[in-house]
Symmetry: C2
Subunit: 196 residues, 2 copies
């Protein structure tokens, strides 16, 4: 059965578990989100406490400078200073900084894409779709497909993680949420390139 | 004789020499800017080429993270990659990053202060000046004095440099412009504090 992106997103927000695992669980649960949570818990991926809903007030500011010419600074939040000082968490922050330097995302999550950017992209993809001469009925589907690609190219959390392109950055973070046992959120980042 | 801030600024732009030196030279030249340039050249502070007018296309991105909780990233431009790789230039970039972490400027230069911030500050200072009960004629002077203080508190280049508060950050940069022989400009910076 087809699982909607929105349902996957809901499950991820409830559990903090990565996208692929959430999708699999929802497929196995035939779209029943409560059942999917049970499946994830059985698989040891989600715990009862909804970690990804918890407030993140502490955290770490990390940076990565490539050759002096490209620089990234990122704020990654967690719940306690104890975790902020955890070497594993610090390694995660470093990895996220390096990822941003390499992959140049424009937004953190798809919700951050501004209305005008969205409208412009849609317009371009619709033009391209029309140019194929295909029936009007499939054009919207083509545009949707291209928008998904746009999100995975421009939104940090949906980009393939540079150190392991089989998972997204959010999947990688979710792994740490499970491992460390605190909610982890990328709050903001900035990327400079000399002369930009 | 009293030298206007505007005249000092002109001389600084023409020569790239620090504020205090420019002011002294203008005083000695009785406000004649061309004469002041000659004085600065005699003192070995300015050279014929107007370095600070030259285009800066290269440079270095530097960062400074304090304890993981405060982070600064800065882009400092120079003219060539050769200078960007100069250890002295790199030390300057590090010093500027540290200065920003410690002194928390809001702008690079006074020209960057937005109109609404300016209007609001003026209003506050005028209120404070009126509260002293002094004659209307001196109120504007009081406001001007307070505005100067505002600039030296909030604008990076006018702040007292943390490692030597007798000079401003611009004075310190000007020293390097003379020493290294290329124009140097702070192009942009960002400062994060966890939870801000």
């Amino acid at each position: 059965m087809a699982i909607s992106a929105d349902l996957v997103k809901q499950l991820r927000e409830k559990t903090g578990v990565g996208m692929m695992e959430c999708k699999k669980a929802l497929e196995d649960a035939k779209g029943d989100i409560e059942e999917a949570i049970v499946i994830l818990r059985k698989r040891g991926l989600a715990s009862l406490s909804k970690k990804s809903g918890r407030e993140t007030k502490d955290g770490l500011i990390g940076s990565y400078i490539h050759n002096g010419k490209i620089g990234v600074m990122v704020e990654v939040n967690c719940e306690t200073d104890f975790v902020a000082r955890n070497p594993e968490f610090q390694a995660l922050v470093k990895d996220i900084s390096m990822h941003i330097a390499a992959s140049d995302p424009r937004f953190i999550r798809r919700e951050d894409v501004t209305e005008d950017v969205l409208a412009k992209e849609r317009e371009i993809y619709m033009e391209q779709a029309r140019a194929t001469g295909k029936p009007e009925a499939v054009l919207e589907k083509m545009v949707e497909g291209r928008m998904s690609k746009f999100y995975s190219e421009t939104c940090l959390l949906e980009q393939p993680f540079v150190k392991d392109p089989k998972e997204t950055v959010q999947d990688h973070i979710s792994l740490y949420i499970q491992k460390i046992g605190e909610n982890i959120q990328v709050r903001r980042f900035v990327r400079y390139r000399i002369g930009d």
